[in-house]
């Protein structure tokens, strides 16, 4: 533990010298670290040689100073690397400097029999450490070594060399110091290399563990998907099977009601009505479960066709008006005359709106429900926003997040108080998304809620005539409304009450259609 933290601290220290473009390359960073370790600690070990020469040489000369300067010069390399980068160039210069130091001391102290000769071993070792696996750089540094060696042998043997001033005993001591220092140096580099290797093995093991975990996760996801598909399949099948007996419950209770009303058995009719109502409620629930499971399984078809939105809204309103009236509520449809015809799935849209209206009626004790359709400018272009506003109990903001979860009603107690399946909103949202839009909610406790379906107002593609006509209508309406707005002050001046623009719009639309 302590060694690894020491290594970590050392690594952090040397990493300070590594330029950003090298840090990102794992292979090069490893080489740069070896390079830095060698340059930071190397001169301490290497300088034992000039130190020993000063001590042992009876007449120490300039050659020792130059050797010491060259060895100490290695300390500049890390700073140059940090400041300028150019790692491979620096590595090459460094190797050249190393070769120079070693051959320089051999030249002055005994040639091929020099006590500093063991240092030659460090040349290929360090050179290959520095340049890593690049074949071109390997060739460069090894050629450098060969050229230097050849030049040295030529210089030493052919041109000549200074006579050694060192006594034999001093040469032996120098040899000892040199060999020990070389050993320490090589051991240090080997240790570092072993550490790097161990880290790599650890990294490899860790990577394999991660990959195994990823494979496990993938199979878990596949398993979950299979289970999800099986669930959807099961729900679809069981829902279908539930509809057959429900047919009988609803159908026979209707028949009984007919019989009883003929026989004027009013008390019994109330009971059968309850059976009939419960049957219808169950059927709605089964249909919702079926639709949800179909959407979740991706099996819900979208049947896109030209849809006249105003007609659709009026139809939906008409269908829910009896239920609203039963609850003493007003159901008002308010439509932007420019709503027009868009390409969407009318049955699905009606279904989603029906769910929202049912929900609104369920949670409203007095007042009413308003169905509002308008064209809006959305982030992704023209959109249609259809809102269902109620004057009901409202929803606390903290319940917004879980509102569209299946079987989640606003407050656990409200399910029993208001009745309902808790599937309507989830289904409304899923259908809105299926149609390329979304369902949003705004609400204030005890004031009311507003659920808005926004779907893209896709123009009708095939046989563009009705859509074009509709655009003409929209343009004419828009022009008429602008005109009316401009006219209003004049009419007011004339002392007459201006009529609302929407009424005017309807007249214009009728005129254009005719």
């Amino acid at each position: 533990m302590s060694t690894s933290s020491t290594v970590e601290r050392l690594n952090n220290f040397v990493d300070w010298f590594i330029p950003a473009d090298v840090v990102s390359d794992v292979e090069m960073r490893k080489q740069a670290r070896i390079f830095l370790y060698s340059h930071i600690f190397g001169p301490f070990i290497g300088n034992t040689v000039p130190l020993a020469l000063y001590l042992f040489d009876p007449k120490p000369g300039f050659q020792i100073t130059i050797l010491a300067a060259a060895i100490t010069g290695f300390w500049i390399f890390p700073f140059v690397l940090r400041a300028f980068g150019h790692y491979y160039l620096l590595a090459t210069i460094s190797i050249q400097n190393l070769i120079f130091c070693i051959l320089w001391s051999c030249y002055f102290y005994g040639g091929v029999t020099s006590p500093t000769l063991p240092w030659v071993l460090t040349i290929p070792l360090l050179a290959l450490f520095y340049v890593g696996s690049s074949p071109r750089m390997r060739l460069v540094v090894l050629s450098l070594f060969a050229v230097n060696l050849a030049a040295f042998l030529f210089l030493y043997n052919v041109v000549g060399h200074p006579a050694s001033t060192m006594p034999v005993s001093a040469m032996q001591s120098l040899g000892l110091v040199s060999t020990i220092a070389t050993s320490i140096y090589v051991a240090m580099m080997a240790l570092f290399y072993a550490n790097a290797l161990a880290a790599q093995v650890e990294l490899g093991a860790e990577m394999r563990a991660h990959m195994a975990k990823a494979a496990d996760l993938r199979s878990a996801v596949a398993e979950a998907e299979r289970a999800g598909a099986a669930k959807s399949d099961f729900l679809a099948k069981i829902s279908h099977e539930l509809r057959t007996p429900l047919n009988a419950v609803i159908g026979y209770s209707e028949m009984l009601m007919e019989d009883m009303s003929a026989a004027e058995e009013t008390e019994a009719i109330a009971d059968v009505k309850k059976i009939h109502g419960a049957g219808h409620f169950l059927l709605k629930l089964v249909n919702e479960v079926l639709d949800l499971s179909k959407i979740e399984a991706g099996k819900m078809e979208v049947n896109v066709e030209p849809v006249d939105l105003q007609a659709l809204l009026e139809r939906v309103g008409e269908r829910h008006r009896p239920l609203a009236r039963q609850n003493n509520l007003d159901l008002v449809v308010s439509c932007d005359p420019a709503l027009g015809v868009i390409a969407t799935d009318s049955a699905k849209l009606e279904n989603a709106l029906g769910e929202l209206i049912d929900n609104a009626i369920k949670f409203t004790r007095e007042g009413g429900v308003t169905l509002v359709g308008e064209r809006v400018r959305g982030a992704k272009g023209d959109e249609v926003a259809i809102s269902v506003r109620d004057t009901g109990v409202g929803i606390a903001p903290e319940r917004f997040g879980s509102l569209f979860e299946q079987f989640n009603l606003a407050g656990d107690t409200s399910a029993s108080k208001y009745g309902g399946t808790g599937l309507g909103l989830a289904l409304g949202q899923k259908i809105s998304r299926l149609l390329g839009g979304d369902l949003a909610v705004e609400s204030q406790l005890n004031v009311g809620s507003c659920f808005t379906i926004r779907i893209p107002a896709k123009p009708v593609e095939t046989s563009a005539k009705p859509a074009a006509e509709d655009r003409d209508v929209a343009a004419a309406l828009s022009a008429a409304e602008t005109f009316h707005r401009q006219l209003r002050p004049l009419i007011a001046q004339a002392g007459r009450e201006a009529e609302p623009a929407s009424g005017q719009g309807q007249e214009v639309k009728a005129a254009v259609n005719a």
Binding site: L246, Y252, A347
Partner: protein, 122 residues
Amino acid sequence: MPKILLVEDNEINRDMLTRRLARSGFDVCCAIDGPAGVAMAASERPDLILMDVALGAMDGWEATELIKRSPDTADIPVIALTAHALASDREKSVSVGCADFDTKPVDLPRLLGKINACLSAH
């Protein structure tokens, strides 16, 4: 009294619909599967056929195709009864020659409206 042939394999549904149609003033005869439906279309010569599509081995679509292929029965309007209001079901109904289609569970006033519309069109 217009005669309706109901092709339906579920006994309860058959009983219920038969009685409700009878009360609504129709003469109703029943077939319990596709082949029986095709045979009875020829023998009973009904004014209209109500065809459940989910039938067993021979489904309602195939039975309708056979009925429409035979010159004796081709002109009898067929209303398909499907479990879902799917677009594909609607297209299939049209492609095999059904005059209309309705979904189960049956909403009797709606179905009667469709039946009467078909009968007056023929």
